[in-house]
């Protein structure tokens, strides 16, 4: 089962920014790439630094700690020391809310 979980308010993530949210016990980052929202695991798969602290450039997020790079649309590790991909999630803005689709454990 999966369900849409409210993590924040619509419009909360400005264009070109990445923000961290909690969805239950998951830490999720949401990036705004020219109006398109992309949700992914907040913690880098290399050494668990917060990717919300990282640099978003186009659809690539670069970890501020050690330079791991991920494609925010697929979660794929595309550069730097990280090997494992990030989990990615569907995200939408609806009824003034920012919502992420998460699997129930």
């Amino acid at each position: 089962m999966s369900e849409w979980v409210k993590v924040g308010s619509a419009g909360e993530v400005p264009d070109g920014e990445v923000t961290a949210f909690s969805a239950g016990d998951r830490q999720i980052a949401i990036a705004n790439v020219e109006g398109d929202l992309h949700a992914f695991d907040e913690l880098c798969t290399h050494q668990q630094c917060s990717l919300a602290e990282g640099e978003l450039e186009g659809t690539t997020i670069e970890c501020a700690c050690h330079g791991s790079m991920f494609d925010v649309t697929s979660g794929e590790a595309i550069g730097g020391p990280a090997v494992d991909p990030l989990g990615v999630y569907q995200v939408k803005e609806e009824d003034g809310e920012l919502r992420v689709l998460v699997e129930e454990e």
Binding site: Q47, E57, A64, H66, P81
Partner: protein, 403 residues
């Protein structure tokens, strides 16, 4: 079947072998390393791992190599790359033939001829077992003596202070990393350690280590006697080039062209051992993690025919206490420094220039400036001093337009 051999299984060698497979090479890959462990990251050894906060971080999971049909010979020293026969000669006499080979043998710690250096309780740090030994010594100790305040020495000092030990450091110059950073930035690092209770002695060096069967004290050239429970010596590294034999030229490392190829057509070199003909900096040997990783990736692609120049601006980080330090580029003879932010408040970036050209950027607790400046360094830009000094100016806006 075509066989590619990688000699040396650290960050550069492990990444090269893995990238060859990930890029679709379907021939045989042999990864040879003197260490018994699968390739692991060394940066944590002076930081999180030393403090017991993390376990080893592997370049790829140890089982990954077998799963991807990479033949590994860990715990085996390669003695020579024999370019006449195109074979790698291993200790014990085994010969591994290759079509192409990468030398990624890295560097080893300098061992200066200081009497008492071999005493138990005098450590240095390069490999995982070195970190284990220091960690174990720190468990029952109250005071450490450190020789050398380069980045490794400074990180070990910080970690030992964080573990609650007293620390005295001796450094030959008048500030830490003075040759690279100059006195002002070196002074910022000294201030950081002073505020964390480190006793620092500058312009002095270790004359000898004393102890009855085990380290008890260091005597300095100026005649100081500094007691402690153990000592850690960190005075730089030298490239491990013996494997080049007489077939591959050696000159402060193994010279490679801009594409990482040695003077021998099917022999490449990467990582600490490679003296790379860098398009911006000229011939340079770099001893940093990120360079090892990126060279490993690049050489694999070039072995498969990409033929691309390696022009990375070089980047590293150093975590000391709660300070995040980063540096990119390379500048030995800069003539101008522009600072944005405040050195005193430990939130600043310093841009090192020569004849107006940005060569290197150093930062403390300003997370984006260093990496944003790398494309500017690679493009040999001459930014305005006012632009560099403006903390609000996003360095990405200075990038040359893409072709």
């Amino acid at each position: 079947m075509t066989t590619f051999v990688v000699v040396g299984a650290g960050e550069a060698g492990g990444t090269a072998a893995a990238t060859l497979r990930e890029e679709g090479f379907d021939g045989e890959i042999v990864l040879i390393g003197a260490e018994p462990m699968a390739p692991y990251e060394r940066p944590p050894l002076s930081k999180e791992y030393l403090r017991g906060e993390s376990d080893h971080v592997f370049v790829r999971p140890p089982e990954w190599y077998g799963e991807h049909a990479i033949r590994t010979r860990f715990g085996t020293r390669a003695e020579r790359v024999n370019v006449e026969d195109s074979v790698v000669e291993l200790e014990g006499g085994e010969r591994v033939p290759y079509d192409q080979v990468v030398i990624a043998t890295g560097s080893r710690n300098r061992r200066p001829p200081i009497p008492g250096l071999e005493l138990p309780g005098v450590f240095d740090l390069r490999f995982a077992p070195n970190a284990d030994a220091i960690k174990e010594a720190a468990e029952n100790a109250t005071k450490a003596v450190l020789v050398g305040m380069g980045f490794i020495g400074a990180e070990v000092t910080a970690s030992l202070r964080q573990l609650g030990l007293e620390a005295t450091v001796i450094e030959a110059t008048s500030t830490p990393m003075e040759r690279v950073l100059g006195p002002e930035l070196g002074g910022a690092i000294a201030a950081l350690h002073r505020d964390h209770g480190v006793e620092m002695i500058f312009n002095d060096g270790a004359e000898r280590f004393e102890g009855d069967g085990r380290f008890e004290a260091m005597v300095t050239r100026e005649g100081r006697r500094i007691e402690g429970d153990f000592a850690v010596v960190g005075v730089g590294v030298e490239p491990v080039t013996e494997v080049a034999g007489d077939g591959v030229p050696v000159d402060n490392g193994i010279p490679v062209d801009a594409t990482l190829r040695t003077a021998v057509e099917n022999v490449w070199a990467v990582g600490d051992v490679a003296r790379h003909d860098h398009p911006v900096f000229g011939p340079i040997r770099v001893e940093h993690f990120d360079n090892a990783l990126k060279m490993g990736e690049r050489v694999a692609k070039n072995m498969l025919g990409a033929g691309a120049v390696f022009d990375d601006a070089h980047w590293f980080w150093s975590d000391q206490y709660d300070a995040k330090i980063e540096m990119a580029g390379f500048a030995t003879q800069w003539d101008d420094m522009v600072v944005r932010g405040s050195i005193e408040d430990r939130s600043f970036s310093a841009f090192l220039l020569k004849d107006g050209q940005l060569l290197s950027t150093f930062s403390m607790n300003r997370k984006f400036d260093v990496r944003r400046s790398m494309p500017l360094i690679s493009a040999r830009l001459r930014p305005e001093r006012e632009q560099l000094a403006d903390p609000e100016l996003d360095l990405r806006t200075l990038r040359p337009p893409k072709e």
